[in-house]
């Protein structure tokens, strides 16, 4: 498959199989490519599956009101019938997908979805900010799945991206839900001891959750203090204006200060909004991610416990010369597979986490820098205005 290069941005695209790309539709490759070229390159891996979530739309029916999002896919994988798709999905579709992934790939870490339930009256489910925050999280979810070497080949994921009508699939899925879930859910086996490396993972996750919680609280507190500071600024600036109204010489300088304070207020408002909309949701998403990871660890424990229990039972009953029964062997296989998958996912997760937080915190620093730069520009432009009359006066003296 060909790598996506920067030079092909402007040209009409022809796919490897010779079909020209329709550039008129909003989901066309050129516009997709333009968006995707900003994505991080995963350690130089060549990608053959690109997914984006955009274009939220409100649907009003007699029964309910809900939002759908456009999910665009571009791929060269043979598992897909077409090279590109554009479908509309709503949140419950994403939820369905996640559940299916968890059931069908229980040894893997499934990325989190944004929270399902929002308290009516507290949050406006149809406000621009809420919808945009959700869209970003859904986009991230699909991208994380698409980047996963195992999950991205899952049949349910394929269906999610390509099926015109997902409801049918969902119906079928409900029926098979029972059967599949039995596979890996084991009940009541007690694990004696978690192996060291997995125990270390568990410990790490516990501390990490704590720290993220603290950071969330700090960020919220800062936003609160900034909002209150903003309120005072909004009262402060206009006082200079009313002062200027009964001054002559000082009229312009005072008006200038008032304008400056007003500019700084707007800049602060932007900073606070950005932190609320971009920073906090990502933090919270990671807390959900950690919960998923912890659950996977627990499942692994269960599988190992089942194996150990069954093994013990066999060892007690028969003498050591009898070969190990096949179901115990299967358990052993399951344990080893799970451990391998989990370790691979852990490493991947750690790597992504590092990138994500580097990006998140750098973004936070950038937003603060931008805020101060805006204020600096405002005050610096005021200085010549303040000194202006003085120079003029100096000349006439």
């Amino acid at each position: 498959m060909s790598e996506v290069s920067m030079t092909r941005k402007q040209q009409d695209l022809i796919l490897p199989n010779g079909t020209p790309v329709d550039t008129s539709s909003p989901a066309s490759s050129s516009s997709l490519l333009n968006r995707l070229q900003l994505d991080d390159d995963l350690d130089g891996e060549t990608r053959d599956l690109f997914v984006t979530v955009d274009d939220p739309k409100k649907h009003v029916s007699t029964m309910e009101t809900y939002i759908t999002y456009r999910v665009c896919t571009k791929t060269t994988r043979t598992e897909f019938d077409l090279p590109e798709y554009s479908v509309r999905r709503r949140y419950q579709d994403f939820d369905w997908l996640r559940n299916k992934l968890e059931e069908s790939q229980p040894t893997h870490l499934i990325p989190p979805l944004p929270e399902k339930f929002v308290m009516k009256g507290v949050v406006d489910r149809f406000s621009e900010e809420f919808v945009e925050t959700r869209r970003k999280a859904l986009d991230k979810f699909l991208k994380r799945v698409a980047d996963h070497p195992v999950l991205s080949f899952n049949e349910h994921f394929n269906a999610f991206l390509s099926a015109k009508d997902l409801n049918k699939r969902q119906g079928l899925a409900l029926l098979t839900k029972m059967g599949e879930s039995v596979k890996y859910v084991t009940g009541g086996y007690k694990l004696r001891a978690r192996p060291v490396e997995f125990a270390a993972m568990g410990d790490y996750l516990d501390v990490f959750t704590q720290k993220l919680g603290t950071i969330d609280r700090i960020a919220q507190r800062i936003i609160k203090e900034q909002s209150e500071f903003l309120m005072e600024l909004r009262e402060y600036g206009p006082v200079y204006s009313s002062w200027s109204s009964f001054e002559e010489d000082l009229h312009d300088p005072l008006e200038g200060v008032s304008g400056c304070v007003s500019n700084c207020s707007s800049a602060l408002e932007e900073l606070t909004e950005d932190m609320s909309e971009d920073f906090l949701p990502v933090l919270r998403e990671y807390v959900l991610y950690i919960e998923s990871m912890k659950n996977v660890l627990k499942k692994r424990d269960q599988v190992q416990a089942e194996y150990e229990t069954k093994l013990e039972a066999v060892v007690f009953r028969e003498d050591k010369k009898t070969p190990v029964p096949s179901d115990v062997e299967k358990c052993q296989d399951r344990v080893e597979c799970f451990n391998a998958d989990l370790k691979a996912d852990w490493d991947r997760w750690q790597n992504n986490k590092r990138q994500d937080f580097r990006q998140l915190l750098t973004g936070m620093a950038d937003k603060n820098i931008q805020y101060y730069e805006k204020c600096l520009a405002a005050w610096e432009s005021l200085i010549p205005l303040l000194q202006d009359k003085q120079d003029a006066k100096g000349e006439t003296n």
Partner: protein
Amino acid sequence: MVEKGTSLLKMMEISVAEAEKRTGKNAVNMQETYTVYLIETSVEHIIWTNPVPDSLWRRYSEFELLRNYLLVTYPFSVVPPLPEKRAEFVWHKLSADNMDPDFVERRRVGLENFLLRVASHPDLSSDKIFYSFLTEENGWKETVFETGFQAKADSRLKALNATFRVKNPDKRFAEMKHYGDELQSVISQLLRVRARAADRLYGVYKVHGNYGRVFSEWSAIEKEMGDGLQSAGHHMDAYAASVDDILEEEEHYADQLKEYLFYADALRAVCRKHELTQYELEMAAQDLTSKKQQREELATGTIRTFSLKGMTSKLFGQETPEQREAKVKMLETQIEEGEELVKERNTECEEFVKSAWVDIERFKEQKDHDLREALISYAIMQISMCKKGIQVWNNAKECFSKM
């Protein structure tokens, strides 16, 4: 001695160099703690400058006494204000306690400023009492009381607080008084909101310090990310700490505004004094007019103004010609005196208006200049704060990017 009109400051350096705590017995023989301020002066000679400045200690109440004396003695001058007696418009960190070292320090600066303002005032700087305040430690208080200003002070205070209506005030003074009211109101509001904003800003910066601690704790469980997080945390600590200096600088700006808040009061006092002199002139003129009218009535026999005496004489019989002549003579004397008084008061009024307006114009220019300077230094402070912020966050960003 200094010639009238030349600023004392041209001949002498004045500073309030230090502040010290003292304890002693007060007027009611109770122990009290108070602060004294060291006033240093050095006179410049043509031949040599004093190697060691002269100095004496004064406490705040003595400054107050000096100012009250000046207010009474120079009613047409906008007398520079003293720094506030008690800390007002405080935000939470600043102590409202008079013994607090920060408050004492800011007061020291304010007192020095007061002395420099008086010393550069064309009229006030040549005052003898002011000079001896700076140079004679002992017996100064007695000297002040000997001037008898206290009596004038009491009547002045009464007059300033009395309500009376002036028929023909000088329009400029009425406008100035109105300006003084507005200036006082707007600066009060500004100081109040600024104090609240300072409080909030303090909160914003200090909470960032919590990032420092949590990043440090987090870095302990990380391998590659650890160093970046740890150093970023240090920058967050530095950011949190930087707000103390920022707000201390802003206090200077607040003090500059406060000076003009109190100056507004002094300005209003001058306008009020004008009203008083105008009122007294109008009263004297009114009195004279009524006396002249009375004389006319007696001369022509017509009664235009009601008088109880007139009524009684009508009822109980006319007065004798001798009685009438005595009355006329008395009125004539009164009218003469009245005309003198009106002339006096008129001159007083005119002179007051002239001198006061000169000082008011001087004050206006000073105010425009000073407040403009204050705004410029405020803008510079904000610029410095923004630059510091950019630097800290750039440092943090670098650490984050190395995570």
